[in-house]
């Protein structure tokens, strides 16, 4: 690869990253992540987010549909590394099927669908005291108590509108692992559409230059 090609590639990558995902700030080294590995000089670190961590890291209720994994890649110095979501997959340990990461668009739509089906129930007690008079029968005071139970219409929950979906898609996309070519460390989130059962362990698989790296997520 000559210098011009490299320069052009770097320009295209920079342009595409500026408009797309920004990812997260990579930690100083891959070994700062709970699980990490190194192959051919490329280091990869990963962390499975708990429900609580995902709630803190995202405004979007990504827990509703997905398992979130933060991934960081550390390329070899002065060497470009292609980052593609297709190279990642998650497998429940012992299971034969693996799940590829979902796009921000799909995840946002999934959260919206989940929010649409949610309903809020509110209980509103009411108390009234008053005085009335009129030509019919006379006048007097009244006391009134009541209680109303309200069930919101489907679609009135946060995250259920199309605009919210767009916002969620923006957030998930901007915090997602940036795809393209990287010459420095990159990090971001991957969203896998699966529900993690208690005590089940997940394995993150990453295909690096044709070789598979398996990281068991705690």
């Amino acid at each position: 690869m000559n210098g011009k090609t490299l320069l052009g590639l770097a320009f295209v990558t920079t342009a595409s990253l500026a408009a797309g995902p920004r990812g997260t700030m990579p930690k100083a080294a891959a070994n700062r992540y709970p699980v990490h590995a190194e192959k051919a000089g490329v280091s990869v670190g990963a962390a499975l987010l708990t429900s609580d961590e995902a709630r803190k890291a995202f405004v979007s209720e990504v827990n509703r549909c997905c398992v979130v994994v933060e991934v960081a890649l550390y390329p070899v110095k002065d060497k470009l590394q292609i980052v593609s979501l297709d190279d990642f997959s998650v497998r429940v340990t012992g299971s034969e099927t693996a799940v590829k990461p979902s796009s921000a668009k799909v995840v946002a739509a999934s959260i919206q669908k989940s929010a649409e089906s949610q309903r809020d129930i509110t209980v509103s007690p009411s108390v009234g005291v008053g005085y009335e008079s009129g030509p019919y029968g006379g006048h007097g005071t009244y006391r009134e108590v009541g209680v109303a139970v309200g069930v919101s219409e489907p679609g009135s929950h946060s995250g259920s509108s199309d605009r919210d979906r767009d916002t969620m898609q923006t957030e998930l996309s901007e915090k997602g692992l940036p795809e393209g070519t990287a010459s420095a460390a990159v990090a971001g989130y991957l969203y896998f559409s699966l529900t993690k059962k208690k005590n089940a362990t997940l394995q993150l698989e990453y295909v690096l230059n044709g070789e598979k790296i398996v990281l068991t997520l705690p």
Binding site: T122, V127, E132, G146, E174
Partner: protein, 217 residues
């Protein structure tokens, strides 16, 4: 005035009274109690920690100070009421009555009333409350810091304790003279509350910077 009319009047009186109070508590957007300890963060993921999810915890301190009217639209309410009337009427009191109603977005919920515009959730101000907006609660130090949303001046921090924004992603900046500016990417979802604490550190003077440079090997 007939007894029926009187009863209806009583019903309306009751509803309008509670509509100012009950739904406010029920629909006050909730916040996560802890504040995000952000000083000059630019990492957008940090703001999510402060975004409140609808839940049982409410910010009672703020409720007391703001006294906002929040109503939720589009409810179906069913209930049971009891009225006791002490007066010389021909119909026997007390008695129970059930009631039920479907409310559309035209009405304030859950009671039948159309408030004047000042109470209306459709109150159209770009930074004011509306049903389809999300709330940003901003605490800044110093309080006179200037707030910018997507580069546009929004006001002083002390006047913008609560900002209502349409659902979307925004670049929030808080700056003050002699302080390091605060920047954060925020994501606002409708009917949710986001709490942001921006403490602007004093800018380092030329002497401090020189000392720092000299201290470095």
């Amino acid at each position: 005035m007939g007894a029926r009319v009187l009863l209806l009047s009583a019903l309306f009186t009751c509803h309008s009274m509670v509509a100012l109070d009950g739904p406010c508590q029920a629909q006050e957007p909730t916040t996560v109690p802890q504040e995000t300890p952000v000083s000059s963060a630019t990492d957008s993921s940090k703001q999510a920690a402060a975004q409140g999810a609808p839940g049982p915890e409410t910010d009672k301190k703020d409720e007391k100070t703001h006294h906002k009217i929040h109503v939720q639209l589009g409810l179906v309410s069913f209930g049971l009421g009891y009225t006791h009337f002490a007066g010389p009427y021909y119909y026997p009191y007390p008695y129970f009555y059930p009631y039920g109603a479907t409310y559309s977005a035209v009405f304030c919920d859950p009671f039948w009333c159309t408030y004047p515009s000042v109470f209306s959730p459709a109150y159209s101000g770009s930074l004011l409350y509306a049903e389809d907006k999300g709330e940003v609660r901003l605490t800044a130090e110093p309080k006179t810091a200037e707030v910018y949303i997507d580069g546009a001046y929004a006001g002083k921090a002390d006047r913008l304790k609560t900002i209502w924004l349409d659902s979307g992603a925004y670049d929030l900046s808080v700056s003050a003279k002699g302080r390091v500016a605060f920047h954060q990417r925020i994501y606002v979802l409708s009917r949710r509350s986001l709490r942001i604490s921006a403490k602007l550190e004093p800018e380092k003077g030329p002497d401090a910077l020189r000392q720092e440079r000299e201290a470095k090997p």
